[in-house]
């Protein structure tokens, strides 16, 4: 019980700190002191206090879309195993629910953006749809392959299995973590897929979809996208943390993995340029290519071919 409470608290507290940490790492690379780690929290509180401007061309969809997106991401967060490999909710085949509840949130974000009638936002929505559809098959191949290996069907079960040792398992988990890291960059809208700080509408993906949002809606959109990064980082963290650990130790290593991920993302953002828009699908296709390798390793293992 206490583990679940801690996980729920982490799910609420960590997202904005994670973003703050990434920004801090990025500014350190640039030789600046940079904003405090708490800055996103302050931005969020500031936005929550503000009023909201809603365009007269938009309908009720524009008003409900951010809330639905936020709700769907919280639901996804409840299913994902966090510290100690424990998730708050767990049921059979919940990873399919996870993928589709995220997709539902994205669907509402997309139609919310199209509802404003702005051509820029429509363009961003179209890009978001294309990139998400490239990510999804790879995610399913990775998760399903790990499921085949251990004959389990819940997220918790998958992550427990992944804690084991053995060279093959390590290989699969390393490749899986690499694949999910690309997914983290896509879903979190980070460099090299998307640049969260860009100011040119033509090159934005996620930022351009929320140009019309302001006030509390903008605040929860910001919070939701940060939470999405925490969710995917949690999957990666549970892949690399061994399962047989006391909860305290496991919690500490979970936070350490998250810290390392934030440093890696910040570093990538500081030293790599954003990819040209036409090269992004190719980058995302690496996920599918790697997951084909994972799948074949698992098929060969199950049929006794790996010697």
């Amino acid at each position: 019980m206490i583990e679940i409470l801690i996980n729920a608290a982490l799910l609420i507290i960590l997202p904005l700190l994670f973003i703050g940490l990434i920004n801090r790492v990025k500014s350190l690379w640039g030789g600046r002191q940079g904003p405090s780690i708490m800055q996103p929290v302050r931005d969020f509180l500031k936005l929550m206090k503000k009023g909201e401007v809603i365009s007269t061309t938009s309908s009720f969809i524009f008003k409900i879309a951010p809330s639905i997106t936020f709700a769907s991401i919280i639901l996804a967060g409840l299913i994902v195993p966090m510290a100690g490999g424990r998730s708050i909710l767990s049921f059979n085949a919940d990873f399919i629910f996870f993928a589709y509840i995220l997709a539902t949130g994205k669907f509402f974000a997309i139609i919310g953006a199209m509802d404003t009638g702005s051509s820029f936002e429509g363009m961003g929505a179209s890009r978001e749809a294309v990139f998400s559809s490239l990510v999804e098959p790879a995610f399913f191949i990775v998760i399903a392959s790990i499921g085949i290996l251990g004959n389990v069907s819940t997220f918790e079960g998958l992550m427990r299995l992944s804690g084991g040792s053995g060279e093959l398992k390590m290989l699969i988990l390393m490749l899986g973590a690499g694949t999910l890291f690309i997914m983290l960059l896509v879903e979190g809208c980070r460099v090299p897929v998307d640049d969260p700080n860009t100011h040119l509408e033509l090159t934005m993906i996620h930022e351009v979809m929320v140009l019309d949002n302001s006030g509390p809606d903008m605040g929860i959109i910001m919070y939701a996208s940060a939470m999405k990064m925490i969710i995917i980082s949690s999957i990666i963290a549970n892949m690399v943390i061994p399962e047989s650990m006391a909860f305290g130790l496991s919690l500490a290593s979970y936070l350490a993995v998250l810290l390392v991920l934030a440093v890696i993302i910040g570093t990538i953002e500081a030293i790599v340029a954003r990819l040209r828009m036409s090269h992004v699908p190719q980058f995302l296709f690496y996920m599918t290519a790697i997951s084909v390798i994972i799948l074949s390793i698992i098929v060969l293992t199950v049929s006794g071919g790996m010697k």
Binding site: E167, L168, L171, L175, H279, P281, Q282, F285, Y286, T288, A289, I290, V292, I293, S296, I297, V299, L300, S303, G304, G305, M306, K307
Partner: protein, 211 residues
């Protein structure tokens, strides 16, 4: 450890299939050379000593260091930095290479029951590397990329020999080395001498050659 090296080898092939920078090709080739060297070392107990020395020399000195350095010298001297107009876009090239890998793994899956003295995972990656090397030769237009595609094909051959008999017969290895040497030599000759006539090192210009 062996499986890890082989997977990295496969990943270099995926990288090669999607990049358009010639230096990227050369770096990936050099990495492949090092990986083959480590594979040879890891199999040291089954290989006789003179052969082991020769194979180490071939992979480390020739494939991983000498040839990449020479290729870099050629491209820097001639200012060839990227594949300007590949006949297949890099996205489709990546998709096709993934399909080649899937097919290679299918063959290795089939080989589990059909052949006894084989290491299926090795075999799948090596078949895929050979086919992907041929695909690179077909789809790229610069002569220098053709030679590099040929070198990848040879790396795949090498890997396949390791997967079946755990070593390549000495004379075959020598022959392959000679082939690569001739290819590189001709490439150098072509790039350095014929270059005066044709500013672009491009296979399309070869169709206009006459006495």
């Amino acid at each position: 450890m062996i499986n890890f090296i082989i997977i990295v080898f496969g990943l270099t092939m995926l990288y090669i299939s999607s990049t358009i920078r010639i230096e990227g090709y050369i770096k990936a080739l050099s990495i492949q050379g090092f990986l083959l060297f480590f594979l040879v070392l890891l199999d040291y107990d089954t290989i006789i000593l003179p052969n082991l020395i020769f194979l180490s020399f071939e992979t480390l000195a020739v494939k991983a260091i000498a040839l990449p350095l020479f290729l870099i010298y050629i491209i820097r001297k001639n200012g060839i930095f990227r594949e300007v107009e590949p006949s297949v876009t890099s996205m489709s090239s990546l998709i096709i290479t993934s399909l080649i890998f899937a097919a290679g793994f299918y063959i290795s899956y089939w080989s589990i029951d059909a052949v006894s003295n084989i290491r299926p995972f090795y075999f799948g990656i090596s078949i895929s590397t050979i086919v992907a090397g041929i695909f690179i030769i077909i789809s790229r237009k610069k002569i220098i990329t053709h030679v590099m595609g040929y070198m990848m094909l040879e790396n795949g051959n090498f890997l396949m020999a390791l997967s079946i008999v755990k070593e390549m017969p000495f004379i075959v290895a020598l022959g392959v080395l000679l082939d690569i040497f001739i290819a590189i030599y001709l490439l150098g000759l072509f790039v350095n001498k014929v270059q005066d006539e044709y500013s672009e090192i491009h296979i399309d210009t070869l169709s206009k050659l006459k006495d």
